[in-house]
Symmetry: C2
Subunit: 425 residues, 2 copies
């Protein structure tokens, strides 16, 4: 198989399909999504069988248990895949939205129209449900999709792709609107990310290694998410009743998510008053604390039962632990907190706990991260919690889309002009 040629063919077909999709009615796109859901439910046993082959091969190849877990489909998982397609059908169609129309002195009326990006390449790892998810989000936003899943999931992905194609056909949409790369050759990824003539944007979903590799080599823009080194800053004017609940939720609700807090900053003036209380909660949950010299001394003095206290190194201020560990630092004030965050954060999500209006507004404005919060847990940084209805990923880039990326992040705005025969003077 000539991989370059094959990928070029997929690209050319996607580009052609994208024209029809951009013009497709909301009804046709929704019909396709409902038909895909019905196909997935109807072919439940075939999907389970295909997935069982993947799992068997992966197990024989010695895939680690965490990856096997992501690879595995259950009856419940298949139902939630189908339900997910129907949920995307229920979301408002972003395409064609006209905004900001203003009449200019020349007589023309100028505004913006929301339009699909064109062709989106999605590169992901073992989870086969991403195939259905990503297909749905790209379709609803009027984009053609080329999906490249992990080699471990190839049988399930092919089976899901067949459901997607059947759904497209049922709604009269072009069959190449969603294409699944049928080869597991790695060269296909290299080709996909270097065809600017056919692919408008790449969304990698997976581990940091995958994303760094793709960002480095891509010749088209990449919507990417790297680290989530999120901070919670407890100001000296924090409401005492909000401190522990927010830190507890931000750090301990889930350890492995990108919006989990990894660093805690505490204002010096209230550190001796509240840091021991926070530390008792963290110790009770088994969270190790990597402390600056000052907080280390304070917490050692507090002699908290079961607390694991470790002296922090410079590396701790940058670390995304994804584990029951948190970096702890005492800072002079909100100024030092903002400076620390802007120096060490990965730009994902940061929160301040304060009752002071001016410090809250300054934190919102001056902290340079995709999501900035006042008196709320960093765990809210999520497409569903923000009301996007769905999420293709969370961007830590500053260009185009920042933070949770929903349907709107898969579109852009062009200028439109309503004229009446005007010419330029």
């Amino acid at each position: 198989m000539d991989i370059q040629n094959y990928m070029q063919t997929l690209g050319r077909q996607a580009r052609a399909a994208s024209r029809a999709l951009a013009a497709a009615s909301t009804a046709a796109k929704n019909d396709a999504l409902f038909a895909m859901a019905a196909e997935i439910r109807a072919r439940r046993d075939a999907l389970l069988a295909a997935n069982a082959r993947d799992v068997e091969e992966a197990r024989a190849a010695g895939l680690e248990p965490a990856l096997l877990d992501r690879l595995m489909l259950t009856g419940k998982g298949i139902e939630s895949m189908a339900a997910g397609l129907e949920q995307v059908a229920a979301l408002p169609d972003p395409v064609g939205e006209i905004t900001d129309v203003k009449r200019r002195p020349s007589g023309i009326q100028v505004g913006k129209m929301r339009v699909p990006l064109g062709v989106i390449g999605i590169i992901y790892e073992a989870r086969p449900n991403v195939t259905a998810d990503a297909a749905a989000l790209c379709l609803k936003s009027g984009n053609a999709a080329i999906l490249r899943g992990g080699r471990e999931a190839i049988n399930a992905n092919r089976a899901i792709a067949a459901c997607v194609r059947a759904g497209l056909a049922a709604a009269g949409l072009p069959e190449h609107a969603v294409q699944v790369v049928e080869t597991t050759d790695r060269e296909a990824v290299g080709a996909l990310i270097t065809m600017p003539e056919f692919v408008d944007i790449i969304v990698p979903r997976g581990g940091k290694g995958l994303i760094e590799r793709i960002s480095r080599d891509a010749k088209v823009p990449v919507i990417k998410h790297l680290d989530g080194n999120c901070h919670v800053y407890i100001d000296d004017e924090a409401d005492p009743g909000k401190i522990v609940p927010i830190v507890e939720n931000a750090k301990t609700q889930r350890y492995g998510t990108c919006n989990t807090a990894e660093s805690l900053l505490v204002a010096r003036d209230i550190a001796d008053l509240y840091l021991p209380e926070i530390a008792r909660m963290l110790a009770a949950k088994g969270v190790e604390m990597r402390c600056c010299a000052e907080s280390l001394a304070l917490l050692r003095e507090a002699a908290i039962d079961g607390a694991t206290l470790v002296a922090a190194t410079e590396a701790d201020w940058r670390e995304e632990y994804l584990a029951p560990i948190i970096a702890v630092k005492i800072v002079a004030d909100a100024d030092e907190a903002i400076a620390h965050i802007n120096a060490y954060s990965s730009g994902h999500t940061e929160a301040i706990v304060t009752e002071n209006y001016t410090k809250a507004m300054r934190f919102l404005r001056e902290v340079d991260s995709a999501s900035v919060m006042v008196n709320a847990s960093t765990r809210f940084a999520d497409g569903f919690e923000y009301g996007l209805g769905a999420e293709i990923g969370i961007s830590t880039d500053k260009i185009h889309a920042r933070g949770p990326v929903g349907l709107e992040g898969l579109t852009s705005q062009k200028w439109i002009v309503f004229g009446n025969g005007e010419v330029r003077k």
Copy 2:
């Protein structure tokens, strides 16, 4: 001089200054712009003298007359540079704008805040006035700027940079908010476009060669403008009174601008009725017509005085002539026009002339270009005509900013959350 080291220093200083600029008040930014304008007026003679040295050296080096013309500053040019700074001061400050705040079921209020991109690298050629223009737009949008002008203009650029620094100092803003690269070594450009840790976006302004080179080598996003192969489509339901004026303005008002029409598409049903009339106007203006076989036969038969008719080749459909030449093609209908445009256009600006509502709306939606117009001249695709107040360039990319890029295009939106102690369930 160690260029890499020097550029890293500029980058580090720009990043530090960008934090202060993001937090700067509108008043301070405007004060700086007014002070810069005053400095430029006060140092008029020094600027003219610096420019005279540039011009002398460029003439001795045999620079071509068109470039010499761009390089040359006059008293009037200096006044308009100063006035331009004051105009940017008068524009609304985009930074800090809060929009779309919605309360979510969890209790949090989620919205978006407009924020600067951070550090912008501007790479341009001989025009020294770009130094003042770009400094003003970056400053007003809260971004630090690193400006790399053409080697021919280095003396004037240094003199303008001194005015900019004086203006920043007068307003109490960091001196590194705007930095002019002081070396003419080409390696500086290579360094500037490959420092993602210090530079967030590159805006190249200049010829196609420069822009292609930068886009190829950059390791940060580039807001770029390549070709402007703009189309006018005359539908069979066009208002006869609008046809000739729009084609005339779109093609002949100025030949060298990117929003000038380069291709004319005419619906078959009205071609014999109106194409000769259009051709008479074009012939009178000395515009050569590169015609498809059908239009060539039609226009030869019409025997128009002074018309230069040439058989078009495939290459003509893609060409940006920037000259008194236009490609002419007869198409079956709006469908074929849209398909032709999406196949051959550079994605800059296209116009339909029609009285038919449905075809107008379809053209607006389905033509995949940065600006799409109904019954108006393509020449309107311009930041000033669109009401942006100023323009750093016109983007033919689909990501982030499409079409004319003003202050808003130099910003992005982050998510903000107003909470009241909420935690995620």
